[in-house]
């Protein structure tokens, strides 16, 4: 899966958790939980969706690396293209 495809899935699934937010207005270095007001169940839903869509089960220990859009894209591409 290419970087663009992974990014598209990530954006789509963030959109499912925070439907009313325009992701283009969120700086890619902003903390997603603050920028999108995602709580722990919302974040868990995002992790479940990424597991289902990309086959990437993010361990809790790696959650801090997915706190921003930029970090999440880097992390998922690192895992997704290596797989």
């Amino acid at each position: 899966m290419t970087r663009d495809e992974i990014t598209a899935v990530l954006f789509e699934e963030i959109g499912n958790v925070a439907p009313e937010v325009d992701l283009r207005s969120v700086p890619d270095g902003a903390d997603l939980r603050d920028a999108l007001d995602i709580d722990s169940i919302g974040f868990l839903n995002l992790m479940i969706a990424l597991d289902a869509r990309l086959g990437i089960a993010v361990p809790e220990a790696d959650y801090p690396r997915l706190r921003t859009i930029r970090g999440a894209v880097e992390y998922l591409c690192g895992r997704g293209t290596a797989a």
Binding site: I41, L44, I48
Partner: protein
Amino acid sequence: MGVFRMPSLGADMEAGKLVEWLKRAGDAIAAGDVIAVVETQKGAIEVEAFESGIVESHLVAVGQTVPVGTPLAMIRGEGTAAAPAAGPAAVPVPQIAPSPAAPPLSGAPQPPAFRASPAARRFAAEHAIELTGMRGSGPDGAIVFVDVEQALQGRRDAAPAAPPRPPPTAAGPPATGMAAMRQAIAAAMERSKREIPHYYVAHAADVTAAFDALAAFNATRAPRDRVLFGAALLGAVARALARFPEFNGFHRGGAFEPAPRIHVGMAIALRGGGLVAPAIHDADKLALPDLMRAMHDLADRVRAGRFRSSEIADPTITLTSLGERGVDAVLGVIYPPQVAIVGAGTPALRPWVVDGAVVARRLCRLTLAADHRVSDGHRGALFLAEVARLAENPELP
């Protein structure tokens, strides 16, 4: 023959709009089946049947807004013969007019949409107080003397500034969306602060070991099988109640009614504002992974705007938890007629004394707001200490 009525889904609900029938005439239903979807101030709610039988006929069409208590459908008991065809037509259906100018509940002959004690009716008649639409604090929402007395007091309070005004939601069609939810929260919280003498106790729980245990449990599991600390908190509240029944139940009609089962209301903030606190049923009976699944399912359905009537109507206590991005503590406001609310702040690393040395530990500040008519601070403190002990030691399989 049973009658399926517009349920009261909270002390502040006066009417609901039928938006969907999920069972048609002739369909067999079992107690607990979802029969219809009703739009209320709290959003769309799936309404469940209380008894088994066959749906005989619908009495209210999709799109109609009717007061609480209005018959929605006739339910024929199993093995009972079908009713004569005249049945449905014999039940007049009061409908709230869509026009804001029309007084909704007067005019056409209709059965009273309320239950009231004789003393309340007499007192209301003496003072020309309209009982229709009033919410009662008696059994099953029945209007009792004190409710009418309060209505009269409210009218007197308002009198110097303005002429007597009808109850806000009786003046027009029920508001919908955020404005309606704000009204519902306002009504419940005003009533709470007016009627319930709250007392508060607080305690810091050292949840370091609990977080470690959850991290170890989750490390080997797929995201959908992971357990969040919030489930451990809710389980702790539910289990602690076994020895402290005076915090689980309702204060109604001047007396406390302990609840036989433990349905913990879980305060869920909605995206865009507002909140609801539907129940996790029999939360004390669920193992932690099952409790997590139930909470996750409920949170998802609430945010999608679909939950069940029993969930919204019957929490016996509430837990409000700030989650991972909040502040140290939250002091709750009791949701009437409940008698207690437990608050949990955001767990955070703080200096703490363990074995005589100051160390960094993860602390979660717990609070209890409870109804002083029902319990005292001594018991409240013991209850909260038990909640903390259980939250510090979650039972994981």
